[in-house]
């Protein structure tokens, strides 16, 4: 394990430069293979029958007619797989297919495999399911208030508890009430974050192949568009009761995920079980509608915040109360409930903080992790609170954020260890690039500008199941052709992690990029990496790759040094050559160098791995989330134009400044920043995962499970995005890198909210800021004196007295 990057920026030759991605041309020429692009000989097509009821008991399932249909090779129901699973080992509350209860419209109850898709669809129609409907809980507050007179969504773990509650967390740091009382200004607000979903353009897809014979038990292979092949491997083995040594998960390229493919889904268990029954490979491809039912998207949050500060703007106390609408299953909900509070304690210093978060079940598709897991919602509320406070104390909101900066190499109130921190540079960058000083409170009515900041983790100390093994690893081999092969189990979902290990091989071993092969995504031959989630990959995989590459480098340099009769420390590997540092005219090709090393040490390979430092959190267990080895920091400025007639908010531009530690490839970092800001913009303005209530159709039915009705931004909707990379060079990150994939989403939403306020003087505390919502807010303002531009800081008397 490496402790620290030993080379500084100026000596890097590959890292930090714009590079192609190793699979970039395969993607742009149509050669890249995704799961649905695979066809195996004799492959059958599977389909899943889904519940039409939000909450019901399954009385009986009769599959005889379906089984009798010509072309049907297997039918499975919940009884074939009666073991619960769940991504969090403490909350396994799902069956691959429902056994005796359905909990949302879309819950899977049976699956078939047939010669083709049409036959499979006809077979589903032949399955007879008798349900006894139960009263559904669609509103989280109804779930909370339930008294057990109608069936809980899940049985309570202990008698007398509310079975509709997944998790309740109440944590308090510092003297919250005392400091709140002692605050000069206290702002209180209620906020609502509507649920949103990931909508990767690739629907989930899986293929199962069970090969019996050749020894007891047979062998299962599942190809899947998953972002967590290792956890899928574990759960397949556990639920289907197959020795994990006989289970193989293959991950073809994944067509987008954003957290939406980060746990096992019904289709993966079904293709496996159907293949075991049919003796042939089985593929299931979700319809777009099914992707909406699978969901695991952003939880709707109902939030109440009280924030107190001194008259000079310094934060004193923060008090939050949150209800999370979790949908039908736990998913990552335990973590979401902690994240809803724990990730708020930077980049601002707050002497006292309390949060009380309750995640409840409802009879809707389960919520889970979406990009910026659990912390995007509270960040929206908190940054709007900051804006309100800044106005009350008469500070420019950027200055207000500077004033409260927590600093670097410090600890948060909840005892998270912060190392590098480039937040001030982020604020400077967006302030400068956006012409903030010329615009804030100075643009004409209807036009406005807003700012927000945030922080995010680069992975956490806790793996999802407790263990002391490395969190990430690679294996690297070099051979006499001059080639480097990297075996990587990390999940390439578009973010560039396969390229990352290749860049590191180039940097450390001096080979050109096209001499690196990354062999990936197959649990049979790649070391374990835990998956693409929690923004953990760059930090952990990067450090693992450096570890492996430096072991090889040492051997190569030693062999060359012996040949030249110089010191190994004088040998450089760069640009396809081995060079003698004191006189670089003395050189040989990397291939020759590898040959010398292979002759000296034998066949050359090395493993490298990374595990997080376990001792970095104080008394308070790293905030129970598993402290992160490093935190990224972000600031956004958004500029908007509000059409007062229609309520339409035109987001003109978002300036995105992000401290990613070091940009290993600035093109990919910018891509993550732009994609994140785009997604935040989308959630701010248009996205809404809406379900019908009983008065408007079938209660609990998804209102619009299509990409036409669930609106995501097109090329015409998306604002101009400008990326401003800030590099704080983290002491423990690979070459100083942290993360870029999730942090830059957070501030988009509050920055837009704050910009709307600057434009028209109206606060929007409910998402999304759709034309009807904005129009209604403007109407309400009109009836109480009319919307108008807020006054500039310093032009009104400071309102110090508390409300």
């Amino acid at each position: 394990m490496i402790k620290r990057a030993h080379r500084v920026g100026s000596e890097l030759t590959v890292v930090g430069q714009p590079q192609r991605k190793i699979e970039g041309l395969a993607k742009s020429t149509g050669r890249a293979i995704y799961t649905d692009d695979l066809t195996l000989p004799g492959m059958l097509h599977g389909k899943i029958l889904r519940s039409p009821h939000p909450h019901a008991r399954i009385v009986s399932i009769d599959t005889t007619a379906a089984e009798a249909l010509e072309g049907v090779h297997a039918v499975v129901t919940g009884r074939d797989m009666p073991i619960t699973y769940g991504i969090i080992p403490w909350t396994p509350d799902e069956f691959p297919l429902c056994v005796d209860r359905v909990r949302y419209i879309g819950d899977g109850v049976a699956a078939v495999a047939a010669v083709d898709e049409d036959t499979a669809i006809r077979a589903l129609a032949e399955i007879r399911v008798e349900y006894e409907e139960l009263p559904p809980f669609l509103d989280p507050f109804d779930s909370l208030a339930a008294d057990g007179s109608t069936p809980w969504i899940h049985q309570p773990k202990k008698e007398g508890r509310n079975g509709n509650i997944t998790k309740h967390v109440h944590l308090e740091f510092g003297d919250v009430d005392g400091l709140m009382d002692g605050s000069d200004v206290v702002v209180e607000g209620e906020y609502h974050f509507e649920g949103t979903t990931h909508t990767p353009i690739e629907p989930h897809c899986a293929i199962g192949l069970f090969e019996s014979g050749g020894g007891p038990g047979g062998k299962l292979t599942v190809w899947s568009a998953t972002q967590v092949p290792h956890y899928l491997h574990r759960e397949l083995a556990r639920v289907l009761e197959i020795d994990p040594a006989r289970v193989r998960v293959v991950q073809p390229l994944v067509g987008g995920a954003f957290g939406g493919k980060s746990e096992p889904f019904d289709l993966e268990f079904c293709v496996a079980k159907l293949s075991m029954k049919a003796g042939r490979p089985v593929k299931i491809l979700y319809t777009r509608e099914e992707v909406f039912y699978a969901h695991r998207g952003r939880h709707p949050f109902h939030m109440r915040y009280r924030t107190g500060c001194r008259a000079d703007g310094r934060l004193r106390s923060v008090d939050a109360r949150i209800v999370l609408d979790g949908g039908a299953y736990a998913s990552f909900g335990l973590v979401t409930t902690y994240y809803s509070g724990q990730l708020l304690c930077a980049p601002y210093a707050m002497p006292a903080y309390r949060f009380d978060s309750t995640r409840v079940y409802t009879n809707k598709p389960a919520c889970g992790p979406k990009r910026g897991h659990g912390s995007v919602q509270p960040r929206f509320a908190f940054e709007v609170q900051m804006d309100k406070l800044a106005e009350r104390v008469g500070l420019d909101p950027i200055d207000m954020r500077r004033l409260n900066f927590i600093g670097e190499h410090t600890r948060t109130v909840n005892d998270l260890r912060v190392t590098s921190n480039g937040f001030l540079e982020c604020l400077d960058a967006v302030e400068r690039s956006s012409d903030w000083r010329e615009k804030f409170r100075k643009m004409p009515f209807g036009q406005g500008i807003g700012v927000a900041g945030s922080t995010y983790i680069s992975g956490t100390n806790y793996p999802i199941y407790p263990n002391d093994m490395p969190q990430s690893a690679v294996q690297m081999q070099i051979d006499r052709s001059g080639r480097v092969a990297v075996f990587s189990g990390a999940s390439e979902i578009g973010q560039g992690c396969d390229s990352l290990v290749a860049y590191i091989a180039c940097e450390e071993l001096g080979v050109p990029l096209d001499h690196v092969r990354v062999l990936r995504g197959d649990t049979d031959f790649t070391p374990v990496d835990l998956g693409a989630y929690s923004s953990r990959v760059t930090f952990m995989l990067g450090n693992a790759a450096i570890d492996a590459a430096r072991k090889l480098r040492k051997m190569v340099c030693e062999a060359v040094a012996a040949d030249w009769e110089v010191k190994p420390s004088e040998v450089l590997l760069a640009g396809g050559r081995a060079l003698w540092a004191p006189d670089t005219a003395r050189q040989m090709t990397v291939r020759e160098a590898f040959n010398l090393a292979e002759a000296r040490f034998g066949t050359l390979g090395a493993t490298g791995w990374y595990d997080t430092p376990k001792d970095v959190h104080g008394e308070y267990r790293g905030g129970t989330i598993g402290a992160s080895p490093a935190y990224s920091f972000t600031a956004h400025v958004a500029e908007v134009e509000v059409d007062v007639e229609t309520g339409f908010v035109d987001v003109k531009k978002i300036w995105i400044a992000h401290d990613c530690g070091r940009a290993l490839n600035p093109v990919l970092v910018e891509g993550q920043m732009e994609g994140s800001a785009y997604m935040g913009f989308a959630e701010a303005i248009m996205e809404e995962h809406v379900f019908k209530d009983a008065e408007h159709g079938r209660g609990g039915l998804h209102n619009a499970p299509s990409l036409l009705d669930y609106r995501i931004p097109t090329s015409l909707d998306t604002p101009e995005l400008e990326s401003l990379i800030v590099e704080s060079i983290d002491p423990e990150g690979p070459y100083g890198a942290k993360e870029a994939g999730e942090g830059p989403l957070h501030p988009s939403i509050p920055a837009i909210a704050n910009a709307i306020y600057d434009a028209v003087g109206v606060r929007l505390d409910r998402l999304p800021f759709s034309p009807p919502a904005v129009w209604r807010a403007l109407e309400a303002a009109a009836s109480s004196g009319g919307a108008r531009k807020p006054a500039a800081p310093g032009t009104v008397e400071v309102t110090a007295p508390r409300p």
Binding site: D37, E126, H198, R288, E289, T714, E720
Partner: protein, 171 residues
């Protein structure tokens, strides 16, 4: 939702027709179920899996191909309608000399993250550049409005199309 109340009148989809498809310059005769879309014929019969299915109902643009010079959603095109017409897919953009400048620029500029929208976007962009060699940013936005990308925020895609347009004008 497949539920027993709704589906028993589903027609038997066995009828197979032979269609003649001209794809990327080659003429194919393939037997397909009569209800097949062009996308299904491309992916499942010709094994040209570059064109992607993101929704199968005309909402996402991942299945975009070029038919007689026009960017067209192949998931909404009954296979019969494509008969005897000139179909170009993402696989047909490259030549024996190497990738199309659009394809190369997408790689250079980081315009393909997960890459799932990419084949469709490339087809829309290629159709645009064929009729408008020097498009403005707004013309590019307009031409790509039917192609959803969930990864990039479109910025790098615009830059790649502009880069390719510049290269094509020089060539």
């Amino acid at each position: 939702m497949a539920h027993r109340a709704v589906t028993t009148s589903m027609p038997m989809p066995r009828a197979t027709d032979v269609v003649r498809l001209r794809v990327n310059g080659d003429l194919y005769e393939v037997g397909v179920p009569a209800h097949y879309t062009l996308l299904e014929a491309l992916r499942y019969e010709l094994l040209l899996t570059g064109s992607k299915q993101g929704c199968d109902k005309g909402d996402c643009g991942a299945c975009t191909v070029i038919i007689d010079g026009r960017a067209t959603l192949s998931c909404l095109t009954p296979v019969h309608e494509a008969e005897e017409r000139d179909v170009v897919t993402v696989e047909g953009l490259a030549s024996a000399d190497g990738p199309h400048p659009l394809q190369d620029e997408f790689d250079l500029k980081g315009a393909a993250q997960c890459g799932f929208c990419t084949p469709g976007i490339l087809c829309s962009a290629a159709a645009l550049l064929a009729r408008t060699p020097d498009p403005s940013r707004d013309e590019i936005r307009e031409a790509l409005a039917g192609n959803l990308c969930r990864c990039t925020g479109y910025t790098k895609i615009f830059e790649a199309v502009e880069g390719a347009a510049a290269r094509l004008r020089v060539e």
